[in-house]
Amino acid sequence: MSAVMVAKKVTRKWEKLPGKNTFCCDGRVMMARQKGVFYLTLFLIVGTCALFFAFECPYLAINLSPAIPVVAVVLFLFVVAMLLRTSFSDPGVLPRALPEEATFIEMEIEAANGNVPAGQRPPPRIRNVQINSQIVKLKYCYTCKIFRPPRASHCSICDNCVERFDHHCPWVGNCVGKRNYRYFYLFTLSLSLLTIFIFSFAIVHVVMRSVDSGFVVVCFFTLWSVVGLTGFHTYLISLNQTTNEDIKGSWSGKNRIQNPYSHRNIMKNCCEVLCGPAYPSVLDRRGLMLERSLHPANPTAAAAQVGKNNNAEPQPTERKAPCPPDEHAPDDANPNVTASTEDVSYNEKSPSPNQETLPPPQDPSPSLPEDNTDAALDKEKVH
């Protein structure tokens, strides 16, 4: 029997999450893949304010009021905080269905469809639910293998289903959804106020000192776009609609149903969107997964991916089937693991709030051995 070296490598769940997000700071920050425009936004805001503080504030502080730079600083910090909050937080991503759940849903669909004659396309996967006496259609997401909750949509840029999906904003480098919509709105609102503030005092400065007005012209154009966007989102909030619904015309038109989520009261709609509870993220990004890499049998193997608080175990011998193409299981899963000879017990503390509960039967990751087991069993059934 060869001696097997085991190196314990701790992986966090964000490293195995599907989708096209990028993560920073060990899973604390979650953004889209393309971040170029976000850096541009940051540069424009910081650059404009820097110019304002450098060239206009000294004169205005002395000749008008020292409160002007103070207010500008406060607004600037609030804008940057809101931008970073919007960009770095989870917009409300729905984790993909684990194999059991996906199979369960497929069974329900097949049961509902009945027998489809060969050669005919099966009916579209739609579930009707009644919300506030209106029929709303829930669509099936083939990527995430779930029926999307109402108002959720799949972002093709991030490749995730997002709850209460508003839009994917390249300026903030992230999707805008249920969890970060209010931060996005406050960002646009505070940016409008900051732009108006800078614009007004730049004009005052120009008038008082007859200096070059190039800066004012730049502010003018920025102002209209940002203020316009804020106005648009204020309108959406008052009607409790998302940008996605507005663009698709879900609730407008004669033959369409009315918005079932609106309270028919502007104040109530605003309160729900802006003053609702802060929803938690259901992606446990910083939860621990454990990988054991074995040497020298297969140095690159991710031999076992054990959920937190699980003990070492023998690998099932039937795990030789290839993974189905839509499962992101690692190709280097080592079937030759003689892990039964090891007696390592893992007792890592998870930072997630679910510590007090029973350990989850599965981690929300697609690359679990059970995927292979399912595939193997499926194959056995077929043969």
């Binding site: 609030f78 905080a81 809101m82 909050r85 729905l94 984790p95 269905a97 684990l98 194999p99 059991e100 759940e101 199979t103 369960f104 069974m107 639910v129 009644q130 919300i131 506030n132 709303v136 909750p149 109402p150 108002r151 709850e163 209460r164 931060y183 406050l186 079932p260 989520y261 309160c271 003053c275 609702g276 509870p277 802060a278 938690p280 259901v282 992606l283 054990v306 959920g307 699980n310 003990n311 070492a312 175990e313 099932p316 011998t317 017990s345 709030p353 679910n354 007090e356 509960t357 029973l358 350990p359 039967p361 929300p364 051995p369 059970e370 292979n372 087991t373 399912d374 069993l377 059934k381």
Partner: protein, 179 residues
């Protein structure tokens, strides 16, 4: 409490092959988190309907409390906004507090009601708040139950594709009250 928790962990570990039943969301009131109280037929052999309904209704009540838009959420929102939401880095939100209550409740239910009947509930937050999953533990007697053919699934169970292969058998543990 600690030993019971440990026993439940062992139960999960020793459930070599189990079937899962999913209780889906009820969207009749919009996007609020609420689960269907319809009793799944697959659970009929394991648990009584009133117990199941009681559990789901209590969970629904917890979620309604978490998502309630009222004085507390306004105050929390305004305070957080005034601090540019920096306060959320230090403070636990009202929703997170209720989530902790929910996980304590689920653990208690598992210990008292479900595990003695060979069932285990998974906290919905681990499933993206989409489903409450009931794990039907197949009672297996032999210590080497992992090898060879899987134990026959209960007749009412869905097709065996729904398998939790993640269960790791370390040692067989006899759970009190468990045949």
């Amino acid at each position: 409490m600690a030993t019971e928790f440990h026993n439940l962990q062992e139960l999960r570990h020793s459930a070599s092959l189990a079937t899962k039943i999913f209780v889906q969301r009820d969207y009749s009131e919009g996007t609020v988190c609420k689960f269907q109280t319809k009793f799944p037929s697959d659970l009929e052999s394991r648990i009584e309907r009133p117990l199941f309904e009681d559990t789901v209704k209590t969970l629904n009540k917890f979620y309604t409390e978490a998502e309630k838009i009222g004085g507390h959420s306004y105050l929390e929102g305004c305070l957080a906004c005034a601090t540019a939401y920096v306060i959320f880095l230090c403070m636990e939100t009202g929703y997170e507090k209720v989530l902790k209550k929910i996980s304590r409740y689920i653990q208690e239910q598992n210990e008292k009601v479900y595990a003695p009947r060979g069932l285990l509930i998974t906290d919905p937050i681990e499933r993206g708040m989409r489903v409450i999953s009931f794990l039907k533990v197949i009672r297996s007697r032999s210590p080497s139950s992992r090898t060879g053919a899987p134990a026959p699934a209960p007749a009412a169970a869905p097709p065996p594709a729904a398998v939790a292969g993640d269960w790791r058998t370390s040692t067989r543990v006899s759970y009190p009250g468990y045949p």
